[in-house]
Symmetry: C2
Subunit: 333 residues, 2 copies
Amino acid sequence: MGIQEIASVTGLSKSTVSRALRGLPSVAGPTIDQVRRVADELGYVPSSAAAGLATGRQRAVGVVVPVIDRWFYVKALGGVDAELRAAGHDLVLYNLGGPGGDRDRAFRRSMLRHRVDALVLLSLVLDETERAELELTRHPMIVIGGPAPGLRNVGVDDAVVSRLAVQHLVRLGHRAIAYMGGQDEDGMNVAVPYLRHDGFVDAMAAVGCAVRTAWMVNGRFSFDGGVAAGTELLAAESDRPTAVFCASDEMALGLLVAAHRAGVRVPEDLSVIGVDGHEYGATVGLTTVAQDPEAQGRTAARAVLAEVEGHAPEPAGPAAVELVVRGTTGPVR
Amino acid sequence: MGIQEIASVTGLSKSTVSRALRGLPSVAGPTIDQVRRVADELGYVPSSAAAGLATGRQRAVGVVVPVIDRWFYVKALGGVDAELRAAGHDLVLYNLGGPGGDRDRAFRRSMLRHRVDALVLLSLVLDETERAELELTRHPMIVIGGPAPGLRNVGVDDAVVSRLAVQHLVRLGHRAIAYMGGQDEDGMNVAVPYLRHDGFVDAMAAVGCAVRTAWMVNGRFSFDGGVAAGTELLAAESDRPTAVFCASDEMALGLLVAAHRAGVRVPEDLSVIGVDGHEYGATVGLTTVAQDPEAQGRTAARAVLAEVEGHAPEPAGPAAVELVVRGTTGPVR
DNA sequence: GTGAAAGCGCTAACAA
DNA sequence: TTGTTAGCGCTTTCAC
């Protein structure tokens, strides 16, 4: 049930069969047909392990995610997958599984086994040990999301994202602006939350607005977290912000629910702007700084694939972002 | 940079090194230590291809999804992943990529390459050709979601799901009940939508309620689709249903938005019940028939893993479902 | 407790 | 255009 069988049946040599199966040029037309036919009849299934051993190429790339059930990761994963599929490569998913996922073992056990030809890391900042370990494999690597020291990266410029949001709000007359962020996953060492946070602080400074500590809340980058943090933020009748910049649409969506429950009208009493371009946001009219994680995934995949092929890595600028004004932001009253 | 190097450096044989590295019993303690140390120093990275070739086992399982960005698939994928990770297996993701994904090629090209030891199919119904092709690999297979002819499956009993929902509504006095379903993905051949639809029809018949064709709407199993279908359903001032059973929480969430926009109060004017147990639903108070896709993923993974190990497949009953009554359903007025 | 040798299924020079 | 000959890096009898 290997290439050998086909060779015996057809009376050809293994090499010819191998070449025919791969559609290499130097094989006669009839030979190809014959081999294909016999392979079908025999129910031949190629062994990627054998091919991988012989060539040193696995035709697979690994994608590492901190957790799997976040909008951004799912979308980016989809983008990487689409590109890999087009290139005939498989996708091996390495889910660090969040704080409880035993990150270390996950790192060693699998990623280092030469099962893949390259690695796409989603929003991860690696520590020294991890970097060193991954370097061992000498595989092309790229990260999507926050810039990681020593690694190429594709992603938006988070300072720009925050600035866009703050400027939009300021133009509408807001100065009492709150920030909802968080640390995506405890201990997962994700950079983006910090970048967006710092971007917000800088942008506020640039437009001369004061940042109030009480208005920097933690929405944990999730819908639930957004509801919780929003509820707390809006609890005080007086001394409320007139606008909130949420570092992700999922949190913004949660805030919208909190506002609704608290009887706070949006955008009359409160303007809300998010980041991402989540589909739910589009249909509920959420103003946002949209990005395209799927495109980022595709770009990243193309980049590592090119590097695997030996092409020079194509240097890419920051990914596109776009302010999408919808109904949740309005002039301050 | 292989096992050979370590052998040379330590003066041991390849076999001993191999055994030491794998922690087999018949190796002296000091030898193990020595081998481990040298391996570390040399930056040894094992080759899963070589190991796979030699043993015939890849220590990897494939997960096939129709599309990747649906709540259920993401959760189930997470469950499969958790179990595989615990068992030290890798997860190869085969995303059919929806209707435009060139399903055939995806099937042939990758899944049939012996890259994985087993396959977990998410909600897929295979046609004859596909079944035949996959059979070639002789790998253990299981499907999560709708029962697939000829394959083991784990999932909820969709007739029960629909009955639970209908009975809940009927107990509240509803008889004018609409159904929002859809065909998840065109051409993706997913069974669940049909099962839930039929379950609804049967359950309605069982309680003596009439099913109105105009009240069977297509929410495409998505949030957007739910908004659209809901808007349409609620457009007619008169002749509205008093309750809607949505075959997924994502659609139910969309319906909630549509109702809000149409000025239809929930649950006073309209009761809404979904299926799934989506986190968003929990925080907005959506009544639902909850299931646990993550648990289903773990169960499926355990099952195929056991089969790979040669253990008899553990026969499992249908997965648990639970009616979770929250705020979106109430007595008919 | 350790070693020698064969082989997993394929690819890749090098010949013919 | 096709065949021959070596491996790829590991596991696994079978000896010692």
